[in-house]
Symmetry: none
Subunit: 219 residues, 4 copies
């Protein structure tokens, strides 16, 4: 059997709490209390809180990365190369995110919080863990994105990619908050699928925009 009952309970409780509150804000005592296990169990099974975070992360990243792989293969078979479009790529990405989230309720939020954390200082270890483990898997996907973007230097592409990622991370990270505002303002319930879909043309246009048209004078 892959993992003990206790480890499973810890993972589930941790996932829910991490998703809701964030990693740092969630304490080991909360997790073990919710999981109905002993405080020391986290250290026994995962070594440390950081270790638990990595395990929770992996639980999402593995299937996500697999979905991306599989989708790219599918796409390669289904379509003739000439017709690949940026928006299709982004939708493929969004679909992968949604699928994983569907399988495991908190995945999408976890993904977001994870990236958030990975960009923090003092989190070099986590950063390297993620990049080392999954960085290479996403490369072909990124290459496709690059091919569909406007012509630009490498460093420009680097920054744009992060502009776009920032959009996704920020939006998902604050989704609860934002959809509450929307409800109050427009009385319409936001669905995560709808929001992700709304992103596609925006992000796509961003990556394809011709740059450097203007430059504001310094000061």
């Amino acid at each position: 059997m892959a993992q003990s009952k206790t480890a499973k309970q810890i993972l589930d409780a941790a996932e829910a709490l991490f998703a809701e509150q964030g990693f740092i804000e969630t304490t080991m005592r909360q997790i073990t209390y919710n999981a109905n296990v002993n405080l020391a169990a986290i250290n026994y099974h995962f070594g440390s809180k950081q270790g638990l975070i990595q395990s929770v992360a992996e639980q999402f990243l593995r299937p996500f990365s697999n979905y991306i792989d599989q989708a790219l293969i599918e796409r390669a078979n289904m379509l003739d190369k000439s017709s690949v479009k940026m928006e299709e790529l982004l939708e493929l990405l969004m679909r992968a995110l949604l699928r994983v989230d569907q399988e495991n309720t908190h995945s999408l939020l976890m993904f977001t919080r994870l990236l958030e954390l990975a960009y923090m200082k003092n989190q070099g270890e986590l950063r390297e863990f993620i990049i080392g483990r999954y960085g290479s898997k996403l490369k072909p996907f990124i290459t496709l994105i690059r091919a569909q973007s406007a012509l630009m230097e490498e460093d420009e592409f680097f920054w744009r990619l992060h502009f776009v990622m920032g959009s996704v991370i920020f939006t998902l990270s604050n989704f609860t908050m934002l959809s509450a505002i929307e409800k109050k303002k427009f009385n319409s319930e936001a669905e995560i699928e709808r929001i992700l879909h709304r992103m596609v043309p925006v992000l796509s246009a961003g990556m394809q925009a011709r740059g450097d048209k203007l430059y504001f004078s310094r000061l």
Copy 2:
């Protein structure tokens, strides 16, 4: 009313530390040590850490809001209405940000961290404080943006605005980290002005993109 010397020292030290590390990560010990005042002084002068954050926030928001006002007047004078373009609006915004930052070193980062915090749960008080105090001031500017965006429903616009804001907030919030990566990868030093400039065409294209072209099948 002139604030005491101690309060001033606390505000200055807090601003620098908040900008560098974030609000939650900064401890009162660090602030009072840097400010060269007693640990209890923060509670004495500002009631609590939260109170200090609001004071620091206000210290930044006031001049920023003034700059935006002024910039809109500038724009009204400088350009004939027909030629107002989205990119010009965004550059105007960026310029306002940079100007404030120039006057008071940490402003730009503070702005970002403030927004970040405002979107958090349990920060309803801060959120209302900001919106109540400065929300209305930005309205005319947003109206101009809306006019230059692609035709869309109100709720679509609401979301797009947040996509774009997410980009800015995320990028600036993680600027230190990202520019470190860039340096390692491309051996080039990122300047904040350059990055803000790079954002302009991307954000602009995002706001102007025609939406709803595709919709990924559920699941």
Copy 3:
């Protein structure tokens, strides 16, 4: 005023417990419970447990080192140089130890435990603290010892000094135990002064012994 009441209470309680149980075996909870103060007070006043140990150490080392200094000056005035003898030097040392112990009940045992600790691995910080602070003060004394020892190489002297120190440290460190055995065996109460006195001729002879007379065959 030099130090707060709480700090004083902590020092006293810590000293007693350290002397009785050793540094590592004594917990911060025991100390603060005995001192009747809050657990966090140690960290407030001394930064860490290690910091407390250093403070306790200093409380003994300062007067001890002063006594040695003063005694050496006295000796220099009182006696003509020709008559300085090893045993006098050692008695001077013992007297210094006893005096400090008399002033502050647990000093002698503390001294011992301190040296014990200083020789442990992972205690480089403490070692450097002691040497840096008091190493130089003891140099003149050690030079006199050297002058009265048998002729030998520097490294031989180094080792002999530690043989002799080992005697003192071990005996004092286990004094409670040893004197209990003595009582059981000889029904006589051991007094620390008497024991230190007993050491003098033994240590003296050890330092003055001519070395290298025999060498056991390897294996």
Copy 4:
């Protein structure tokens, strides 16, 4: 009765770790990890950590005690009684120590740490175990030492013996540390044989010194 393979592995691993780090500092996790057995195995086979320590002790004490026996016989044969000297006795002891150490790498250090532990409070059980088991075996040897020492009362002899033992125990117990210092200071590598040899004249002179020459005034 042959002990199980697991028990053997535990004993070996424990011995090495105890010798290197000391009893208290060595954790059961370290032992079982190095022994490549389950954490619970120690409690299963030895009842408790304390039980393991006693087993390890016995494993060393048996051969050591045999060597001493044998050495005393050797001595009886080799030398005519008139010429027995203190230094020869001590060298004989050192040789026994070295021989055991040679057969079983960690013996010498174990011997030291064991004595160290035996002198601690709360270790009455271990103390009695050692004395009950091996105390009598050393008696003839101690009688010989007594005969070669200076004339003195029984209790004086008792203390001197412990002064001398303290020297040996302390030096060996801190040998790693001391030889590191020597290396740094004199750039010469200390060998355990050489150090033991260096002790011989020092200890010998200590035991033979005439006592009571002076008495420092009780301040």
